[in-house]
Symmetry: C2
Subunit: 415 residues, 2 copies
């Protein structure tokens, strides 16, 4: 399937050397869920006392694993995460709920952890029953070989049509002690808010209580995973989870139990940066993409209006095909602003591609050089900026171009 597809031209050129987080170990296996010749299940083992937070798809038809995680998250604690690729266990009815439970039971048995502290996620084809018994054959071996250095391999095991594994890491100080945040994501298709519209698992050794983690994650996702779109399609399986082992407490990091704790400032910033990095990687691996596009809207009536206008532009097939064609077609940007439903005044609009203003005050900028803008459009990163000229609301979202390869990949996914 994804194998014959070359790696996205927008993939990172290198990966971080050091991803490990104290208190977290990873292992992967080939359980034979759907693919041959590759890993398709990853286990993350978490030290006792690990705190958990999560944000999930807003789809009204969520997958069985999403139902499972939502229910278990109430406890706020986690000991293991099991994720498989190849089958989403979505729209699989009661059989699907049973498969989700069986997966967790197999992991609970192998790890000795309570069932309520096992989280699961599945990604891949929708509507096919998932044979969870396949996990039984590999779980003991996963527990045995789990390794603190295994995050990159784990990121590989959860790929579907992704062309590269997505990982990121960051350091931050809490009360004078350095803590680490590392995470993985998978994306590729069905990437649109709200929310994450992909799978992502973030780990830290910081000693932060679950309610505080949850508050930080819910806020941070707005400017990152909830600000990206590949194809405007929201998945049934979107899952973003954040786990804090607390291992840094041994090195003197203070336990944080209040969301308003000022000692979290640097951690918050690092978490925001890490989520944005992963979200950008998801876009940079958008199915068939060649261009990474940032849409910045300023001067809207509110930040919410700015974001809705930005998404109207970022989701427009006509804007996205123009990007693929390296065509500075700002007329389509105007049309996308117009259809957003938000307040706009044609005669106050200004539009830039990169630093080149192509339109202002309701018409083409007479000073703009078609030649220079055309050269700019050939680049790998395209910045589209729109000033609505009405207020102070601003927002950025990120997307990619819409190419023939997107159609090819998605026109032949199941066969």
């Amino acid at each position: 399937m994804a194998k014959s597809v070359p790696v996205s031209p927008l993939a990172p050129k290198s990966y971080p050397d050091q991803l490990s987080v104290e208190g977290v170990r990873f292992a992967t296996a080939a359980a034979g869920i759907r693919y041959a010749g590759r890993t398709d299940v990853m286990l993350a083992l978490l030290d006792k006392g690990t705190q958990a937070a999560g944000v999930f798809t807003r789809s009204k038809c969520p997958s069985a694993p999403v139902d499972w995680c939502r229910a278990k998250l109430k406890g706020g604690k986690a000991r293991a995460v099991v994720v498989n690729s190849g089958n989403a266990n979505a729209f699989t009815g009661k059989v699907g709920a049973k498969a989700a439970k069986l997966t967790a039971e197999i992991a609970a048995k192998a790890t000795g952890a309570p069932l309520s502290e096992i989280f699961i996620a599945s990604t891949g084809v929708i509507g096919e029953p998932l044979d969870a018994t396949k996990f039984d054959g590999v779980m003991d071996q996963l527990v045995e070989k789990a390794d603190p250095e295994g995050l990159l391999d784990a990121a590989r095991a959860i790929m579907t049509t992704d062309t590269f594994p997505k990982v990121a890491t960051a350091k931050a100080m809490i009360g004078g002690v350095e803590v680490t945040i590392s995470g993985m994501a998978k994306g590729a298709g069905m990437i649109a808010p709200d929310m994450a519209t992909m799978l992502s698992f973030i780990f830290t050794d910081a000693p932060i209580a679950a309610p505080v983690l949850q508050a930080m994650l819910s806020r941070s996702v707005q400017g990152s995973f909830n600000a990206i779109t590949v194809d405007s399609d929201t998945s049934t399986s979107d899952t973003l989870m954040l786990f804090a082992t607390g291992a840094a407490a041994k090195r003197g990091a203070p336990k944080i139990t209040q969301a308003g704790d000022r000692r979290l400032a640097a951690f918050r910033k690092a978490l925001d940066g890490l989520l944005l990095d992963l979200a950008h990687q998801v876009v940079r691996d958008g199915e068939g993409c060649r261009k990474f596009v940032e849409v910045r809207v300023e001067g809207a009536m509110s930040a919410g209006a700015a974001k809705r206008i930005a998404f109207s532009i970022a989701n427009s097939p006509l804007v996205k095909t123009a990007m693929a064609g390296e065509d500075a077609n700002w007329g389509r940007v105007v049309a996308a602003v117009g259809k957003s439903g938000e307040a706009a005044d044609r005669d106050r609009l200004a539009i830039w591609f990169g630093d080149f203003r192509v339109a202002h005050k309701g018409l083409r900028d007479p000073a703009y050089s078609e030649e220079k803008v055309s050269a700019y459009m050939k680049g790998e990163k395209i910045d589209v900026r729109v000033d609505i000229g009405l207020g102070k609301g601003a927002a950025s979202v990120w997307t990619c171009d819409l190419t023939k390869e997107y159609v090819a990949i998605n026109g032949d996914y199941r066969s």
Copy 2:
């Protein structure tokens, strides 16, 4: 541009013989707006006393001609319609408003009609100034050669990336007298509600007063032009107008001045059918399309909810690429239902492709034959039906598949 593209495989196999409407004459010319070697302007001349109604784009950035028509429609009367292709005169600022006015002035002078009864529309590239003086050279000749039989040629002159002209005709009885309704449309790209997201001009000899025409048109558009989508992009120039010359009064047709008049029943039905026919033709000429797709949603909480769910399915790039791939990927239909934001219960959903039920009660229908469904998906017309299982709301919308050709056409439009 459009010339090298072959005619859509979904084009009608023949055109009606008789399209003429008493009191309406058409002429076309090559004004050299943008294209070489083809007509690009059409004039419709309307007998004195013709009543007018219109529905326009909801874009917040409408084109100058849309602004013009909205203002003039208050008078309710029309004597001429001038439409050009090649340039949309949209996002052209004050220069655009002047070009619109100049176009109308040229037509008013040539026809001797008041400026307030001239309607105009432009379609094509956005953001390029329209040189309206070009109409000056052809207008007298257009008036001179205007012909009652010219509707099909007029439909050809307003094409942009359309691969075939779109016309339709219908007869209806009003008070025992037969009247005719004929019309044209152009579409191809940027086809999504609301509303028409294309140009369409309908003519009848029925003697119906402007307010009654307006009420009928506004209602009829909901189930036709407001129920189609090609690419979810709404144009800045969408214009649908209905003109009634009243010529049938000479043959004894009663003058209708009240929207509730029961003698309009057959006319309404004929108008609904004609608008739906034209709307379907627009979809059947969707850029790069190979499949005509009907999405029917039943069992939703309301008709509005059903329509929103249907559009969520019809606009999903993943559903549309699956159609292009002849893939009965009902999992993507589930995902599109889930992301619509409307009430849905995964475990009550049922989905059909044609007569084949592929999913029910939250999982794959065990009885469905993959082979038979695959054969069905190879057809030119695909019916997708979803029963939400919650209420009585139902709606149908129409779309086409998303192919590599769509990307090719739109990735290289301006160059």
